[in-house]
Amino acid sequence: MAAAAVTLVDDLVDEILLRLPPFDPASLLRAALVCKSWRHVLSDACFRRRLREFHRGPPLLGLLCNLSDHAASFVPTTMSPFRGRRFVLSPASNPRPPRRPIGWLAIDTRHGRVLLHTDPHGTVQRGFIM
């Protein structure tokens, strides 16, 4: 497509970015890298509030399911390079990962937070994490 002869008026930029597809959240990040003023629009709290209202709530990014006895998996549902893959949850902050990864089982969710419990069959590090 040919480059635009005219540039967009500033107050139309947020109207356009507001309409980026909610099933492709990465498109917001790519837009933020276009120029600083776009990043400014996208990171504004008012814009984020409008975005949620406009698309009737935040998008469903994926599902968390206990697919095995050992760990919960996050299955992305949005367009992303990770689509079709699953992620097993394990503690990211552990500086020395054990030979056998510690799995976390999802116990419950409330208000966007997830309660996880260590693999009940694991031998190390038992506990809950939010």
Partner: protein, 186 residues
């Protein structure tokens, strides 16, 4: 005196006739005239509705100096198509505030309407819709423009929108590394 009275009556009759007209004439920045249904104009554009209600419509052509003839032709075309496609009763019940209204997908005819436009014509139309306070047309044109970003890298988006990159290489690299998952081409 008799003649003057006749003139006065004629003037009165002309005014009544103008008020009864069911179209308004709009004049583009380059002087071209377009007629649009008064009802559709008032319903679809908050600015034209205000002008009609306030009596500031000029029957010889209301000047819209900010809008070129191609964009104004598209605006008028949209108003006419819209007036024909949706029954008035359905429109009255759907008149909700733009700022808080959730997104409604463009209808098939609206999609076709914007799909046939050239890049420049689309950008001119979105500005005209914004200027005239045409919420639905702004919705449809902005949606089309946002679709033009689909699957594109920041570089490609800059090219489409004629935007200068004001990030330094280092800034871009830092963000890219942090958010590598968001980029298809990495």
């Amino acid at each position: 005196m008799e003649v003057d009275k006749g003139k006065g009556e004629a003037e009165e009759t002309r005014k009544v006739a103008e008020a009864d007209r069911d179209t308004v004439t709009l004049k583009s920045s380059d002087g071209k005239l377009f007629e649009v249904s008064k009802e559709a104009a008032a319903r679809l554009s908050t600015v034209l509705a205000g002008m009609i209600a306030g009596g500031s419509i000029d029957d010889n052509g209301t000047d819209l100096k900010q809008i070129g003839s191609e964009a104004l032709e598209n605006v008028v075309d949209y108003c006419n198509k819209h007036a024909n496609s949706i029954p008035s009763a359905a429109l009255i019940s759907s008149s909700i505030s733009f700022n808080t209204a959730p997104f409604k997908e463009p209808e098939e005819w609206e999609r076709k309407f914007v799909d046939r436009l050239s890049h420049d014509a689309l950008f001119d139309l979105v500005e005209a819709a914004n200027f005239l306070g045409m919420e639905r047309l702004l919705d449809v044109t902005c949606h089309k423009i946002s679709e033009m970003m689909k699957g594109k890298s920041p570089d490609q988006i800059r090219e489409v929108f004629n935007i200068k990159n004001d990030y330094t290489k280092e800034e871009l690299e830092e963000i890219r590394q942090e958010l590598a998952w968001a980029f298809y081409d990495d």
